[in-house]
């Protein structure tokens, strides 16, 4: 697939995800719109041939953040119903198409990484930057991560 076509498909799905997030009454649907938009963003990163950031996007955003949001929605059970609306034929077909799309994007990542025709973002340069010029930033980020983990535990802890 050419990168332009990948960009347009991903852009349209990202905007659709945003519209779902904005207009759906159910909180779970908003989270699913966010997830759709994150996966589409990974496709956009692929279309500008930056496969490392695409994989990081899927792992970090879709894997961690979206799952965290869904867990919290499940915990605070405001409406006492949090089943995913995957009942009708339309929803099921949309689910199947999106899973196929994610699989295609993942296969495309491998193709882009191994193909030689495109100028792919070089992971070696980025990694070398991380441990030479921006070492201080990375260390500060690790501190931020530790502090945020501790703060999240402290804030959400039940007072005994």
């Amino acid at each position: 697939m050419s990168s332009t076509l990948l960009f347009y498909i991903s852009a349209i799905t990202a905007i659709c995800g945003g519209i779902i997030m904005l207009f759906s009454r159910n909180t779970v649907n908003s989270a699913m719109g966010l997830l759709l938009s994150f996966v589409s963003t990974a496709g956009i990163y692929l279309s500008i041939s930056s496969p490392f950031l695409a994989v990081a996007q899927i792992f970090l955003y879709s894997g961690a953040v979206a799952v965290l949001i869904v867990f919290v929605i499940m915990m605070i059970d405001e409406q006492k119903k949090y089943e995913l609306p995957v009942h009708g034929l339309f929803s099921k077909s949309i689910a199947i198409v999106s899973v196929c799309y994610i699989g295609y994007v993942l296969i495309d990542i491998m193709k882009v990484s191994s193909g030689a025709s495109v100028v792919v973002s070089d992971m070696r340069i980025l990694g070398r930057l991380m441990i030479s010029d921006y070492l201080l930033h990375i260390e500060a980020l690790s501190l931020v991560l530790i502090i945020s983990i501790m703060a999240a535990i402290l804030v959400a802890k039940r007072k005994s």
Partner: protein, 98 residues
């Protein structure tokens, strides 16, 4: 071509901003903030790739990490707020008003 990426990033950012302004559920507001951060990441990566500069990709990575931290703390605050007020609507939280 980079114009398309800028326009897409603008559209996504405005969708997130409208979500933050319009919706009253605290979790959906956090989702909108996350959406805005994501759109800024798209802008950084597209400029980095079009000018073949790696600093932009690094900044996008930093944005992802900061967004994960922000999400953890924000959601824990939402959970604590739900324990106190019994609701996650932003209208119900008006302790400082009087």
């Amino acid at each position: 071509m980079i114009y398309h990426y800028v326009v897409l990033s603008l559209i996504l950012f405005s969708l997130g901003l409208i979500t933050v302004i319009v919706r009253r559920n605290l979790i959906v507001i956090l989702i909108g903030i996350e959406f805005m951060l994501n759109s800024v990441g798209i802008l950084f990566v597209s400029y980095a790739r079009f000018y073949n500069n790696y600093i932009g990709e690094f900044v996008a990575l930093v944005i992802m990490l900061i967004a994960a931290c922000e999400m953890a703390i924000g959601l824990s605050i939402v959970v604590a707020m739900f324990r106190i007020y019994g609701s996650v609507k932003s209208n119900d939280i008006r302790e400082l008003k009087n």
